[in-house]
Every structure is written in structure tokens, then in C-alpha cells.
Symmetry: C2
Subunit: 209 residues, 2 copies
């Protein structure tokens, strides 16, 4: 039984000593997990490394209750994430229907499925968690943004391009207004959406795996 | 001594007359993924096998937007899940604060992190996903339910018992009102919460994982 201070130390030691485990789907903007003090970098790393998360909407069918749904996403082709999550959704599913009625949405990611938390509990603050809150918008399929989003999605999720045409999948994106990141002790780290989106823009080519 | 036919009849009568097992009765869940046609079994399997998910609340800080947060949970000690997810939350975190203002909550789980989806995409309907919607309630720490919940949580998440006392972690549970399960093509499977909670209750000893 460890007191909190020792627990923190043990967690820190684990993070330092543990070699980066291979991610479930390794597509980092930087190869390893950024330091806890690098909040924007950590948030972007989580967005680039994960391939699925939970999209929460205000349910039109359940009288306004929050409704979380498992979805795949991509923020860019592997090694070139831009931070904006794109989704491929059909109105056969309640999430897209909800967003068309009320755009307020959050998208939640965990470091845990990447394998880099080791034996640290998923709820432990050193196992990073990210919630992006904003508005879920449909992307015009004729736009150049839609081409980029399709490329980002279909590269990370190859089977999507063969999903049934008559299900009328559409591209959606989350316009981020608020960022909630926990990656260490001491509460959530405030990150301005513009800081998050601009991270890495002027750093030259980023390493990709 | 009763003749065999009467003995069988008496046994059957006993089974019929037996009062419903308390919610805390051990109902181990089968080790492997149930068939797609077994909706309640699949939902209970997802709840028993996962150790973390996303809890979505109505955010009091973000003007009523849905807010999904990564949390650990347990529905029972390993091999004896009961289907009700218990959480260990602190009001230092927005999720618990939100629930105390507005109990409407959903809890979302994916089959993907269990590793049983193989190369199937996390959004593919055959990679099962479960959303339990209802009300998030604080459990009285003096109740016998709290003792069971603590045992369920601390067995699956051993570090929880050493989490800082001054963070005032409390036990919460989701009182389930609606179940959304996708585990195959053809849309969500309707499951009545009572069917979900009663699953396995009268099936005798089941294999545990």
C-alpha cells in the first residue's frame, strides 16, 4: 500500500523507465508520449495515436439525455495528424441524427488502449485522457476538406471505403471549442483550441512511425 | 422418500417458487463472446470484460453540452459480474459534479479494447458496442451495496484503495433505463433493462473468465 506521494513517484518512474509500448495502431505525430508538462503536444499525440473514441451527443430519442457512442475517426493520414477529428457516420445511427438536431458534441479519448499506461489504472491521472467539446458539423462532400478527410479516414480505416453505399455515410468533423486534458496529478490542463490546432505547425517535418 | 417423478415435480416447484435472487447474487458470465443473436448475453459480457469506459454527463460548466470522460468501473468481482456498473469518482472531477446537478448519464463500452474484434474496424457493427443510459446515483457508503461495490471496484482496480483520502472519492452507480447494443448488422438490438439485469440468474453455474 503506497501513500499518494510514493504512488506519484512510482507512476513517474514507470513512465520514465517503461519503453514506449507499440500502440494498437501506431501513427504518432511524435514517436513517444510527450512530457506531462507539454499539454498541447500530449493532446495532439492522443488524437493522432488513437483510431476510435466515444462521441457524445444530446439524445433526441432519449429526451435530451447524453448519449455516448463508439466511433472510428482520423485526424490525418498516419504521421500527419492535424488535430481535427473527422468521422464517417450514417443517419441510420442515432449519433448523426442527434448532431443534425443539436450540434453540441464531445469526443473522448484515452491513452489506455495505446498500451503506454502499462499497469497504471485507466482512471489514474497519469494515464492521459482527452475530451474535445464543440460542434459536430457535416462536411460538404464536394469540398477539398472532404477529400482530405476521406484520405485521412480511409487510410486509417481501410474497410470504410467499402461500407454500404445505401447507408449514405457522410463526413463529419468536430469544431473544437473546449479542451479537457488530464495527463498528470493536479487537475485538468487548460489548452486553448488555437494552441492545440497550431501545435507542430512551425516545427518542420514531424517524426512519423 | 419420493418417487423420481414426484421428486422431479418437487424440484421444478422449488425452482418456480424460489424468490428472485437478490441483485447481488453471483451470476458469472461466460468466458467467450456470446453469439450475435444473444443480445443480453453480449451486453453483459461487454460489461463484465471491460474495466474502463466513457461516462457522459450534461456539463454544468459547458452550458449543458454533453461531456464524456474516461472512467474505470466494475460490475462485480472477476467472473461474477452483475451488470450494474459501479464507479469511484471525486467531485474534483467534472463528471461527479455534473451528475450531482443532473443525474442523466450514459456509459459507453466497446469490444475493441478486449482484442476480440481482430482486424475488424471499431465502428464495424460486428465489433460490439454498448451504451447504457440512465441515472448516475451516489451509493450510501454505509450500505451493504457499498461494501459489494467497493469489493467489485478494488478487485479489478487495486490502486483505487490507495487513492488520496482527501480527494473524497465516492461510489456511484448507473441505474440503467435504456440499453443500446450493436453487435451485428441490422441496427441496434433492443434489450429491456430487466432482461439485461436478470441474465444468467437462473442458468446455474456458468463458466467464469
Amino acid at each position: 500500500m503506497l501513500p499518494p506521494a510514493r504512488l506519484a513517484f512510482a507512476a513517474a518512474l514507470l513512465l520514465i523507465l517503461q519503453p514506449p509500448a507499440p500502440a494498437v495502431a501506431a501513427r504518432p505525430i511524435v514517436a513517444g508520449k510527450p512530457a506531462p508538462s507539454e499539454a498541447a503536444a500530449t493532446a495532439r499525440w492522443l488524437a493522432a495515436q488513437n483510431t476510435w473514441g466515444v462521441l457524445s451527443t444530446i439524445s433526441s430519442e432519449l429526451s435530451g439525455a447524453p448519449f455516448g457512442n463508439v466511433v472510428s475517426y482520423s485526424d490525418g493520414v498516419p504521421g500527419e495528424g492535424h488535430g481535427i477529428p473527422y468521422f464517417y457516420l450514417t443517419t441510420l445511427d442515432p449519433t448523426a441524427r442527434d448532431a443534425l438536431e443539436d450540434e453540441r458534441t464531445s469526443f473522448t479519448l484515452s491513452e489506455f488502449p495505446l498500451g503506454t499506461c502499462g499497469k497504471i489504472d485507466p482512471e489514474n491521472p497519469t494515464c492521459a485522457k482527452l475530451t474535445l467539446t464543440g460542434e459536430l458539423k457535416m462536411v460538404d462532400l464536394q469540398s477539398s476538406e472532404a477529400d482530405l478527410a476521406k484520405s485521412a479516414l480511409f487510410t486509417k480505416h481501410p474497410e470504410m471505403k467499402d461500407w454500404p453505399k445505401n447507408h449514405h455515410f457522410q463526413i463529419f468533423k468536430l469544431e473544437i471549442e473546449n479542451i479537457f486534458l488530464i495527463d498528470w496529478f493536479g487537475g485538468p490542463k487548460p489548452i486553448d483550441p488555437s494552441e492545440y490546432l497550431e501545435y507542430g505547425r512551425n516545427q518542420g517535418p514531424l517524426r512519423s512511425s
